[in-house]
């Protein structure tokens, strides 16, 4: 850094100096554009694409999209919940309707809380619906929301169709048909391969039962993987899910986290003498495990639950994996011996092969709560109360804050669709490229 200012400077005219300064300012401004833009919402960014061609190219650039996601994660001021609700379609006929809504909580630090509700509207041309008539216990052609999200992109599916949806920029994409004949999509999970920088969808078919040497055999599930980059499915080998006497079956997709997709699943016996034996349960050979899929290497592996949950007298329901304080944790209602309680176990040593669990939180089951939904802050859980209202329970203050949003049939909300609500952050700029029908 030079010390002397230079006598040449003095000879320039004032006008020249000012012009030089202005040019310098606009040059420096270009450098400043990225850090400023990466703090904006997807809506503002989609609009500012119109400012200049260089801005258009920059905002579309995948490395800017990445940077934007990173910045938004750090400065996150809102949480969105995707929710399946039941509303009254017609007051006179009392006809009910299922509606998928995106509920966004804006929580800036001043304590102000704004909530917006946006019902999902998929273009009719896509051929599927997110508003369906609810008749008795049946759903009429309404999609299931696959739990969890990936960088702000949500997966919606039923056994015959999968749709990727980016609410931030309102884009939908229908995936092509399965590559396995007579297939149906099942236990669908969306993830992102950080190495190939591509989004992948994993679909796990129902397991098949066959007859071999007079014994009933359950085969490991067939799995297919979809890659957004190639817009195609391919089946992958699953012998890794098969062991000497057992199979692993990934049953319920949980979430995507740092390159890996997680399912709650079972390890079960693969051979039975009779069909009855399977039906009857033979529980000693079924234990629940976490099965995960590495999106880069495309292999499965499993993790055991906390040992206390495998004990004889342990009972639990709806244990699910959540992200808590930037790390993975298991959360759910359980009972060991005495009363019901919610437990939160944090996963340690993930990636080292020797996962262990640390119990972080124990909550007495909260009176008036029907079902827990998601953690949406490190100490707040979104829940459905017995009267159908959605509430937020704060672990530290033990206070319940009822939100003015509801679902008419809380029991049905859980019965119809176990994982119908997902905690999600509405920030992704990522374009999944709308399919022109």
């Amino acid at each position: 850094m030079a010390v002397c200012v230079g006598t040449e400077e003095k000879h320039k005219t004032k006008k020249e100096k000012m012009e030089a300064k202005v040019t310098e300012l606009s040059k420096m401004s270009e450098e400043m554009v990225v850090p400023i833009l990466s703090r904006l919402s997807p809506k503002s960014l989609m609009r500012f694409k119109c400012v200049h061609k260089s801005w258009y190219n920059m905002i579309n650039n995948p490395s800017f999209v990445d940077k934007h996601i990173m910045t938004c994660k750090r400065n996150n001021h809102s949480t969105s919940i995707l929710c399946k609700r039941f509303i009254l379609r017609d007051v006179s006929t009392e006809e009910k309707e299922i509606v998928y809504s995106l509920i966004t909580f804006y929580n800036d630090n001043s304590g102000d809380e704004h909530i917006t509700v946006e019902d999902i509207d998929i273009p009719i041309s896509m051929g599927i619906t997110t508003r369906g008539q609810f008749v008795g216990d049946e759903l009429q052609g309404v999609l299931h929301i696959d739990r969890g999200h990936c960088h702000g992109i949500i997966c919606l599916s039923d056994p015959w169709k999968i749709i990727l949806w980016n609410p931030a920029i309102k884009e939908f994409k229908v995936l092509p048909q399965s590559c396995i004949p007579d297939a149906n999509f099942n236990s669908v999970g969306l993830g992102y391969d950080p190495k190939s920088k591509d989004y992948k969808v994993v679909s796990i078919r129902q397991d098949e039962i066959g007859n071999e040497d007079d014994r009933i055999v359950i085969y490991p599930p067939r799995v297919e993987v979809y890659t957004l980059g190639t817009n195609s499915w391919r089946e992958i080998r699953t012998d890794i899910l098969e062991r000497e006497v057992t199979n692993f079956w990934p049953e319920f997709f949980q979430l995507y986290f740092k390159g890996i997709c997680y399912w709650m699943g079972r390890e079960q016996r693969k051979e039975f003498l009779t069909l009855y034996a399977i039906v009857a349960g033979e529980d000693e050979w079924v234990r629940y495990v976490i099965i995960f899929f590495d999106t880069t290497n495309e292999v499965f592996d499993h993790i055991l639950l906390p040992y206390s949950l495998y004990e004889q007298d342990a009972q639990y329901s709806d244990m699910h994996i959540v992200v808590w304080k930037e790390t993975l944790a298991l959360f759910g209602l359980y009972r060991i011996g005495g009363t019901d309680a919610y437990g939160l176990w944090v996963m340690d040593n993930l990636g080292s092969g020797k996962v262990s669990w640390t119990k972080q939180v124990t909550l007495e089951a909260v009176v008036g709560i029907k079902k827990d939904l998601e953690f949406w802050n490190s100490d707040e859980i979104l829940m459905i109360a017995t009267d159908g209202r959605i509430a937020s329970y704060n672990i530290s203050t033990k206070k319940i804050n009822y939100l003015s949003i509801e679902s008419m049939y809380p029991e049905n909300t859980e019965a119809v669709d176990g994982g119908s609500v997902g905690n999600y952050t509405n920030f992704s700029l990522f374009s999944i490229a709308i399919d022109q029908p």
């Binding site: 010390v3 401004s29 400043m32 850090p35 809506k43 119109c50 061609k53 809102s78």
Partner: protein, 184 residues
């Protein structure tokens, strides 16, 4: 805005043992583009990486006046104001509310264009936390603005023709609507 040449440097008012210690605190002198000279307390000056590097890398004596040809006087005043507060809050346990109040006042009388100029300066001077804060402040101010406003602010000319512009706009027409009603 003060244009005194002795910003944040006078310490003679305080009484007590600390005054004696502060009396011998070193000063660093800089000169901005418009010829103004500023005396900075060493601990504040060291918050500004470009100054820190200048003096420390080659062990340059503090007698030297460091030129800052890319910085205007008013910008230096603001930078010193922010860094001084930052240093002060470093020693406080719970300065969150105070910081928030200070930040709100800090940007209060600055136009968005000035904020942008200050952002450039913070980048040039290499004061990361000030840069982050200013980027955030600018983004807050432009998030609900329309395309014309943003072009004017950044001094950018429209290089789309009418047809191209409509095409790009059509990619996300919803993004151009409801600009004032949104929280986002």
């Amino acid at each position: 805005m003060s244009t005194s040449t002795d910003n944040n440097a006078s310490i003679t008012q305080e009484s007590g043992p600390s005054a004696a210690v502060q009396d011998i605190q070193k000063k660093i002198v800089v000169r901005t583009a418009d010829g103004e000279v500023f005396n900075l307390k060493e601990e504040v000056a060291m918050e500004i990486d470009i100054i820190k590097t200048f003096f420390q890398e080659d062990s340059i004596s503090y007698e030297t006046v460091m030129p800052l040809p890319n910085v205007e006087g008013w910008e230096m005043v603001k930078v010193i104001e922010y860094c001084t507060k930052h240093v002060e809050l470093k020693h406080k346990v719970d300065g969150y509310k105070e910081r928030k109040a200070f930040q709100a006042l800090f940007v209060q009388n600055l136009s968005t264009k000035s904020l942008l100029a200050l952002t450039n300066t913070a980048n040039y001077l290499e004061v990361k936390y000030l840069l982050d804060f200013l980027c955030q402040a600018v983004s807050e101010q432009i998030k609900n603005k329309d395309v014309d406003y943003v072009r004017e602010l950044f001094g950018v000319e429209n290089d789309f023709n009418d047809e191209e512009y409509e095409q790009v706009k059509a990619e996300a027409p919803w993004a151009h609507e409801n600009l004032n009603n949104d929280l986002h």
